[in-house]
């Protein structure tokens, strides 16, 4: 098993609350993603056994939604909202700034595996634009200074 005992325990705990096990697919995928940073075929199979739902149903759901990538990404996933409200306040330029700072292009991961940069659709932080989501956390009302500090702090933790 790639899923840890703790993840399995959490998935079972969630699933037990629903009248039908299939409803636990998204929560299970979320727990698996939290542990691993990706969710692939092997994990679909493991989840299938844990919640007793056919593999194909797990795969079908997992591949529809954007939050369960099949391949691991950098330790810190930089998701820049590039929808209209953020774009009006410079998110295109912010993406370019991060690209230059980290020496990567949108969609890529830095060589040290630390950062992956992607642009995403509206994250519901429109009145505090521009913004970036890094793993679980939102960073809002960004400017050069704030963004530099956030990224430099993450780097210096290593």
């Amino acid at each position: 098993m790639i899923l840890t005992d703790e993840s399995v325990r959490q998935i079972k705990g969630k699933a037990a609350r629903y009248p039908y096990q299939k409803a636990a697919i998204l929560p299970a995928l979320t727990i698996a993603y939290k542990q691993l940073g990706y969710v692939d075929d092997k994990i679909y199979k493991e989840i299938s056994k844990v919640i007793n739902v056919p593999y194909v149903e797990i795969a079908e759901a997992a591949t529809f939604y954007t939050m369960f990538p099949k391949k691991p990404r950098g330790k810190y996933l930089l998701q820049v909202c590039n929808n209209i409200s953020c774009a009006l306040l410079g998110s295109d330029a912010m993406i370019k700034y991060i690209e230059d700072k980290l020496g990567i292009k949108k969609g890529d991961t830095t060589e040290d595996g630390l950062f992956t940069l992607i642009s995403v659709e509206c994250l519901g932080s429109c009145c505090t634009a521009p913004m970036i989501q890094i793993n679980d956390d939102y960073h809002e009302n960004l400017n050069h200074m704030k963004l530099d500090k956030i990224l430099d702090d993450l780097k210096s933790r290593e």
């Binding site: 739902v53 149903e57 209209i84 009145c127």
Partner: protein, 445 residues
């Protein structure tokens, strides 16, 4: 731990104004705790309902209040509840729609992060009204902090007897599950949400049957927006007549509106319905005017799905009827403002990329059409537009509108159509001169 999001609200004004209520306590950093929530009058309405109201009386009160869905459709809430069959032997379900993802909208997040118990209390009252024993709060997966706050609040509510078995000795049992999504705009549409909750792909279902009759697992199901359910709590606390006295005759109550884009003071504001859009953008207590003193060019009044307004059209009330009368919509309550340095085609390109990405793929007109629209709009933006492109856009839009199961197709084309109408010269300029009238270059400061 105080606020997760630094967003501006008008909580002070709300607390001082007898009519505003949803935001009364959202600047209180402890409001998310059960202790403070109860100090501020929390769970009184829920106790009142279980102590002395019949489910039908709750529905009647909400009907009388004139409350309408705050997620975008504006359907009368009490009437929606009354569609749940009275004699169905099946379980009934309530789903709180917290999949907030309409671009420009970030109001439900404030309620969940800062006043989560008010959402739970509203949900509980709605659940009781329809005879539901298990309710869900479907929160978009990206909202980790909202999820955390709602889960913590739910646990506190269970521990203190506001949820669970035999609540307040009434004999009524109610359970709750916080369910998290996987990142799909479609799940904000009620049938998409229901499919997603069942563990399916978030695709729309054909209606009828409507969810109130056959929804989650084929059982009667009511899906209501976070703000709608929170308003229910206040309606029960203070009465339908008080609620009716706020707003306009057909649009009763208040609305949370997110103001974003080129304004000096973006934020989330609670306003009585019917509030002037011009005042909302220019008044010092709200938008405080256009960024850099620039000239206003356009406004998207209800989120990315709604038709644009020109500066000549902003003397309009923010309510369902007034915005419909000028050809747009109140939507989810998201005013997006852009100034003179913005290319309209560029804004539309941002939106169509979004809709193409979020189209679930079930209906051909939307699946194929949004792709074609993006291709054509992209080439116009890139200076490679062809003379016939505007007619092509007109035609594709016309072939999507009204021809899809859910409103996503309509949502994708209505903003485009509005700009083809109001800014057609700008579109033509783009094609003839192979460039924008004005290039949208917004610096990152």
């Amino acid at each position: 731990m105080s606020f997760y999001s630094p967003v501006i609200t008008n909580a002070k004004e709300a607390a001082a104004d007898d009519k505003l209520h949803l935001f009364d306590h959202v600047e209180d950093p402890e409001q998310f705790t059960l202790e403070r929530y109860v100090q501020n009058g929390g769970y009184v309405a829920w106790k009142k309902v279980l102590g002395k109201m019949k489910p039908d009386e709750v529905i009647e009160e909400v009907k009388k209040s004139g409350l309408r869905g705050r997620g975008g459709a504006g359907f009368p809430t009490g009437m929606k509840w009354s569609f749940v069959p009275k004699n169905s032997p099946k379980p009934r379900y309530l789903c709180c729609n917290a999949d907030e993802s309409e671009p420009g909208t970030c109001k439900d997040r404030v309620l969940m992060e800062r006043d989560p118990h008010s959402v739970i209390e509203g949900m509980a009252i709605a659940a009781y009204a329809i005879g539901c024993k298990l309710m869900f709060c479907y929160i978009r997966g990206e909202f980790h902090h909202s999820i955390e706050r709602m889960e913590k609040a739910m646990e506190e509510a269970y521990e203190n007897g506001h949820l669970g078995k035999n609540i307040y000795g009434s004999g009524y049992d109610l359970d709750m599950i916080v369910h998290t999504g996987g990142g799909a705009y479609m799940c904000g549409e009620e049938t998409g949400l229901i499919n997603s909750l069942e563990g399916e792909k978030g695709m729309a279902r054909i209606r009828p049957p409507f969810p109130a009759v056959e929804g989650l697992w084929g059982c009667p199901t009511i899906v209501n927006n976070v703000e709608t359910l929170t308003a229910v709590k206040h309606i029960i606390s203070r009465g339908a007549e008080w609620y009716r006295s706020i707003g306009t005759e057909k649009s009763a109550g208040t609305k949370l509106v997110s103001l974003s884009g080129h304004v000096n003071r973006p934020g989330n504001y609670e306003i009585p319905l019917g509030f002037s859009l011009r005042k909302f953008i220019y008044d010092a207590n709200y938008g405080n005017g256009i960024l850099g003193g620039k000239k206003l060019k356009g406004v998207i009044p209800g989120g990315a799905s709604t038709p644009y307004l020109t500066p000549e059209m902003i003397d309009v009330g923010l309510d369902y009827e007034s915005l419909a009368a000028v050809g747009s919509m109140l939507g989810s309550g998201a005013v997006i403002v852009f100034h003179e340095d913005t290319c309209v085609v560029w804004t539309i390109l941002k939106l169509i990329k979004f809709f193409r990405h979020e189209s679930c793929g079930k209906c051909t007109p939307c699946r194929e059409g949004t792709g074609w629209l993006e291709l054509i709009i992209q080439r116009i933006e890139d200076g490679k537009g062809e003379a016939s492109d505007l007619e092509k856009l007109d035609s594709i839009c016309g072939n999507i509108l009204g021809r899809t199961i859910c409103p996503l197709g309509d949502a994708a084309v209505m903003p485009i159509q509005s700009t083809l109408k109001h800014w057609r010269e700008e579109w033509q300029h783009h094609i003839v001169h192979k460039q924008c009238v004005v290039k949208s270059i917004f610096a990152f400061s």
